[in-house]
């Protein structure tokens, strides 16, 4: 694994982008968007996280093994959250539905 040195310019650009996105997310949070506030905030966070992972952590050029493990990490996080919510979001259902 020989690393190629990345020009400072690239890092600086990413840094700038991250700062800009931070400013955006703060600004957007002041607007009344209802549901969309959450979606926008999370989208921006995901973009920022991806930038850090891809460029600062250099996953862009990492082996597919590394990528697989990162993918697995987030996949398992998703499992936790989705199945956890599957209980909470469907708790009220039955009382309304008498299909049996």
């Amino acid at each position: 694994m020989s690393h190629q040195v990345v020009p400072v310019k690239v890092y600086a650009a990413i840094f700038g982008a991250l700062l800009a996105l931070t400013a955006t997310t703060v600004a957007v949070s002041k607007l009344e968007l209802g549901e969309y506030n959450f979606i926008v905030a999370m989208t921006i966070a995901v973009i920022k996280g991806t930038l850090v992972v891809m460029f600062f952590m250099d996953v862009r050029r990492a082996s597919s093994m590394t990528k697989l493990f990162i993918g697995a990490g987030f996949f398992w996080l998703a499992i936790l959250l989705v199945f956890l919510l599957s209980d909470y979001l469907s708790r009220g259902w039955l009382l309304n539905i008498h299909w049996l």
Binding site: G92, W93, L94, L95, N96, I97, H98, W99, L100
Partner: protein, 329 residues
């Protein structure tokens, strides 16, 4: 009850159904165990090494058809278990909408307090008549307990802060164990009692025996006065708060557009934390928060009273389809 019968006595209709399912699993499981044991035993004997110098046997690396067979067949068998078990589970945990005999049970360390709508109260005893649909509404004053009657093949955890329910149809008169099945501290194994199943006639007699202090409706009505609910919810005509007449057991539209069913859990929440679900068209923060002010038993009485304001109608409201669609969004 012979000690070595595998089935405990059956007090309800559902008990037989659970036993049938159990028998099915026993047969399948027994057959599978027999197959595995028999093959292991047979191969071990048949192919045992006779001398240390026996030639190495030829390798058999596998067989796709066999692999598929023993993947697919168990899967199909398990699908039957799944479907059958799920159906029965939903059935036993979904009380009928109408004509249930509601009994209110509060667990606390370490006893079961039972209240009947007609006002009787008991500790660690439960009396039910055969042939009726008994619905238990379970509440806890402290930790998690679990109301368990082996003869019903049913139990449900009793979770503080919420109501849990299940229902059954008693069939066999007799006395049956009640246990607490969720570990709840020192007296966990003492937290038991007896459920007595009686014929309807005996039950009427028993009821006539001992209601002291009024029915739950009366008691709830008193609390309704005492906490001042009555000033707003019944006699008020300025429209500050919704009338409670004919509310229970019917769908309610909330101010955020959702529709919920006005059941025990809903009424409970609305008393303790009125702002959680506000009925469409009414303001927040009008009603005082009663969290921590009413005992679990008092709450149950209030709920029974609220229920009594909504006598069952001849043609029951049909909440099912429309309400379900909305809330599942």
């Amino acid at each position: 009850m012979g000690v070595f019968s595998i089935f405990p006595s059956r007090a309800s209709v559902a008990a037989g159904e659970v036993d049938a399912l159990y028998t099915f699993l026993l047969v399948v499981g027994g057959a599978m165990t027999a197959i595995i044991f028999a093959s292991v035993f047979f191969f071990a004997v048949r192919y045992r090494r006779k001398s240390p110098n026996d030639p190495a046997p030829k390798a058999i690396h596998g067989s796709l058809p066999l692999e598929i067979a023993w993947t697919v067949i168990p899967f199909l068998v398990m699908l039957v278990m799944f479907a059958w078990g799920t159906k029965l589970y939903f059935q036993n945990y979904t009380p009928p909408l109408h004509d249930t005999l509601d009994i209110y049970i509060t667990g606390k360390q370490w006893m079961w307090k039972v209240q009947y709508p007609t006002g009787q109260r008991e500790i660690n005893e439960l009396h039910v008549p055969t042939g009726s649909s008994v619905k238990l509404i379970l509440a806890s004053e402290d930790v998690i307990h679990s109301f368990f009657v082996p003869a019903l093949r049913l139990k449900h955890d009793v979770v503080p802060g919420s109501y849990q329910t299940f229902w059954f149809e008693p069939k066999e008169p007799g006395r049956y164990h009640i246990f607490c099945a969720e570990y709840c501290g020192t007296g966990h194994s003492d937290m038991g009692g007896w459920m007595t199943v009686m014929t309807p006639a005996d039950y009427e007699n028993w009821l006539a025996g001992g209601a002291n202090g009024g029915s739950m409706v009366e008691l709830g009505g008193k609390l309704f006065q005492q906490y001042g609910c009555v000033t707003c919810h019944v006699t008020d005509h300025e429209g500050r708060c919704p009338s409670l007449l004919n509310v229970f057991g019917r769908p309610v539209v909330l101010d955020d557009g959702r529709t919920v069913m006005a059941d025990e859990a809903y009424v409970r929440e609305s008393i303790l934390n009125p702002n959680a679900k506000v009925v469409k068209g009414y303001k927040h923060d009008i009603m005082p928060v009663f969290e921590g002010q009413i005992s679990e038993e008092g709450l149950l009485q209030l709920i029974v009273y609220v229920k009594s304001l909504s006598p069952p109608t001849a043609s029951p409201a049909k909440p099912a389809a429309s309400a379900a669609k909305r809330s599942s969004k």
